[in-house]
Amino acid sequence: MNKPNQLRMTVYAALFVALIAIGAFIHIPIGPIPIVLQNMFVLLAGIILGPVWGLACVAIYLFIGICGLPVFSGGHSGIGWILGPTGGYLIAYLPAVVATASISKILGQKFSGNVIAMVAGSVIIYALGVPWLKFAFSMTWTKAFAAGMYPFIIGDCVKVIAAAMIARMLKPVVTLQPQNKTA
């Protein structure tokens, strides 16, 4: 990758770190449970930045949170929050962003492909988040699913479709220039 484009990717990835952090604070009131946009930005980071930069961006987000910047939901930070009951969802962002980015790439970054990729990403988030919740509270599986997954499914479907539309509209804005042109 040439130097100016590498700089652009660095800046875009930093932008997504900030978006993911802010996503934890943007509530959109839909139905009884307000939607938080954080996981949508994580999946979007995968689709727009690709697997490597997407992973870097999520890793840096988690890392600055662990290091004490209050970027986790509710303004929390620290190892305590990551190891806490809802930490599984955060850790799961790492495999989720890689999976979403790779699947989207394989399926050719079409609208439907992106939807499939993001559904897979969401499944990974719950596959780690719900068991983590179960063991932290030592509750039964039924309760864990009832508390940590069912209430959010409708919101997630909405977010996945919205994110696929956003990705399509954002494509022309986020294009890297070829080296000989306006680098």
Binding site: Q177, N180, K181, T182
Partner: protein, 251 residues
């Protein structure tokens, strides 16, 4: 005849989507000039000055600094030609005022001791030293613009490009930036200001260049060209329109 500071020959630029940004620009710039680059929005001012320090690559034509192509040593060109961007918010990289000013020198891998000394000197010069630990996001519009100027002054440029330096500034902010511009010119630097409204600076300029549709239409002393400004969709300064000629804006 001595070589001009910057020489631009037959410069053209088309964007990747086919839009033509600038066409056939030929320009010589001598040391210690104070140039206003005028033109309505979309006339190609930003596109032109982004070629000066190699941010954009020309589709054809060439640019030389002291006789050498700027691409021969791009870091030297960027150090010698400082650039202040139009949007004050989106050119700030550091998370404190001090770090922001130090950014350019850190990129050049200058040793830390010199950086600290130089940054403090420039902050004092622009009266920003009391803000050095503040987050740039909490500064006022005028202070942000000053901070951007500080960020390039530490690199000791010979030529400074300003893209719309007065946009979105209130009256005191405009005055303080104007003062800095005049000081910089008096200290021997070459100043190039891209603007669509030149009320504040025209009295201090030594040369006025008018652009339209990516071409240079007029080039000469401001007093000769000021009456033609309105033809190119640029507002003529009030004092001139009222028949008093070009008057300095502050008194």
């Amino acid at each position: 005849m001595k070589t001009p500071l910057i020489k631009i020959e037959n410069l053209n630029h088309s964007f990747s989507d086919g839009t033509c940004g600038i066409r056939d620009i030929c320009l010589c710039i001598d040391p210690e000039e104070f140039i206003i680059l005028a033109g309505r929005n979309g006339s190609g001012k930003t596109t032109l000055i982004r070629h000066f320090n190699g941010l954009l690559h020309p589709s054809s034509g060439k640019i030389t600094l002291n006789g050498n192509s700027i691409f021969k040593d791009i870091n030297l060109a960027r150090k010698k030609i400082g650039m202040i961007f139009q949007d004050a918010d989106t050119q700030i990289v550091g998370d404190t005022v001090f770090d922001e000013v130090a950014f350019g020198l850190e990129n050049l891998k200058i040793e830390r001791q010199y950086i600290t000394k130089k940054v403090m000197q420039v902050l004092k010069q622009l009266h920003l030293d009391h803000l050095k630990d503040r987050s740039p996001a909490t500064l006022s519009g005028g202070e942000k613009r000053k901070l951007a100027i500080a960020g390039i002054l530490v690199m000791e440029p010979d030529i400074i490009l300003f893209d719309e330096p007065f946009s979105n500034l209130d009256y005191p902010g405009t005055l303080s930036i104007l003062e800095i511009l005049i000081d910089l010119h008096e200290s021997g630097r070459t100043i190039i200001v891209a603007a669509h409204n030149m009320e504040a600076i025209i009295a201090h300029a030594t040369r006025l260049i008018i652009m339209e549709d990516g071409r240079i239409k007029k080039d000469g002393p401001p007093k000769d060209l000021v009456k033609t400004l309105e033809r190119f969709g640029i507002k003529e300064p009030c004092s001139s329109r009222l028949g008093f000629g070009i008057q300095p804006w502050q008194n």
